[in-house]
């Protein structure tokens, strides 16, 4: 078993309203940043998977992304492999 670290990038599908993206664009004026557009705001989830090999680790992540992290009606996702180094020590502590 090895530890693989992945990121799942979840973004609103093209055509789906993205009010957060609009809000970012709306504040560009205040910041005096020019030439920025096409802003889409989504989620990024990083996680570590213990698995026998990378392929099976990735399969777990794909499933997690499809079932939990993204809603296929409104969002699309992409899975990205990261350096295992990037793994934070531990985080979870909720039981049950």
């Amino acid at each position: 078993m090895s530890a693989y670290r992945f990121a799942v990038n979840v973004l609103p599908k093209p055509g789906i309203l993205d009010p957060q993206g609009r809000a970012v664009e709306g504040s560009l004026g205040h910041l005096r940043i020019e030439g920025v557009g096409g802003v889409r705001v989504g989620r990024r989830v990083e996680l570590t998977v213990e698995a026998g090999d990378e392929a099976s680790a990735r399969a777990s992540v794909e499933r997690l992304a499809a079932e939990l992290l993204a809603n296929p009606l409104i969002e699309s996702f992409a899975v990205e492999a990261l350096d295992a180094e990037a793994a934070p020590a531990t985080t979870g502590d909720r039981v049950g």
């Binding site: 309203l17 009010p19 809000a23 989620r43 939990l68 992290l69 809603n71 009606l73 409104i74």
Partner: protein, 237 residues
């Protein structure tokens, strides 16, 4: 008295209010813990408002995978009556039990205020006791209530009479076609963003929610009388 289940997820916070609303409407409310697979033989299930499992990722998404929701899905598939209110509506949408999705409010802010909604139909289990199609004044309290479905789906919903409620005047969250509530194609699963259970007593300012709650209790009572529903309930248990 007709027994109606009220699901309690960790993070549900309208479960007690919903229990009370059902009782005021003449039903017997039965709390259903999220980890139980049995629906305790209830005649209908309400998914109450709140922030199930914190609602952190996307409202309603984690709740969908709880043991009780697997049973609720099965119950619904066999024609069992299910109503989702606010977060409960979000859970139903995430679970695919009603069409569409609930996005963040267009204004990106949580909104707690009274809105007016009108029923599109009076022949559903959730609207049968409403006197007419006139507007009801009900509170909303949500951050992710912007109803969304693509145009083809929306057209189909309109055609098939699956739009349950629409906002009248103020569309608080930017819902497409001002949709405040929908039902599934079979007509036994419904969801809405406003809170009927918070408008069930004159001392608190409004009783406009009672019609919805009474409709549910009525429909549950007749479901409890029909043998098929009993079988369904038994199979889910």
């Amino acid at each position: 008295m007709t027994r109606i289940g009220v699901v309690v997820f960790p993070g549900s916070n309208c479960d007690r209010d919903t229990v009370r609303g059902i009782e005021l409407a003449g039903g017997e409310a039965v709390p259903l813990w999220h980890e139980q697979a049995s629906l305790d033989g209830v005649a209908a299930v309400v998914l109450p408002g709140g922030f199930a499992y914190g609602d952190y990722l996307r409202a309603g998404v984690i709740a969908r995978f709880s043991p009780v929701m697997r049973s609720v899905a099965e119950f619904a598939a066999h024609g069992g009556l299910v109503l989702g209110i606010c977060n409960g509506f979000q859970v139903l949408a995430e679970a695919g039990l009603v069409p569409g999705a609930l996005l963040r409010n267009r204004g990106l802010r949580f909104l707690g205020r009274d809105v007016r909604i009108a029923p599109e139909r009076l022949d559903t289990p959730f609207t049968s006791r409403l006197a007419d199609r006139g507007p009801l004044r009900l509170p909303i309290a949500h951050g992710e209530g912007c109803y969304y479905a693509d145009d083809a789906t929306l057209d189909a919903l309109e055609r098939d009479g699956q739009v349950l409620f629409r906002y009248i005047g103020d569309n608080p969250n930017g819902s497409v076609r001002a949709i405040a509530g929908v039902i599934n194609a079979a007509g036994n699963v419904g969801g809405l963003m406003p809170h009927p259970e918070r408008a069930a007593e004159a001392a608190l300012g409004s009783v406009d929610g009672m019609g919805i709650l009474r409709s549910l209790v009525d429909a549950a009572a007749s479901a409890a009388r029909t043998p098929t529903a009993r079988v369904v309930v038994g199979s889910a248990a």
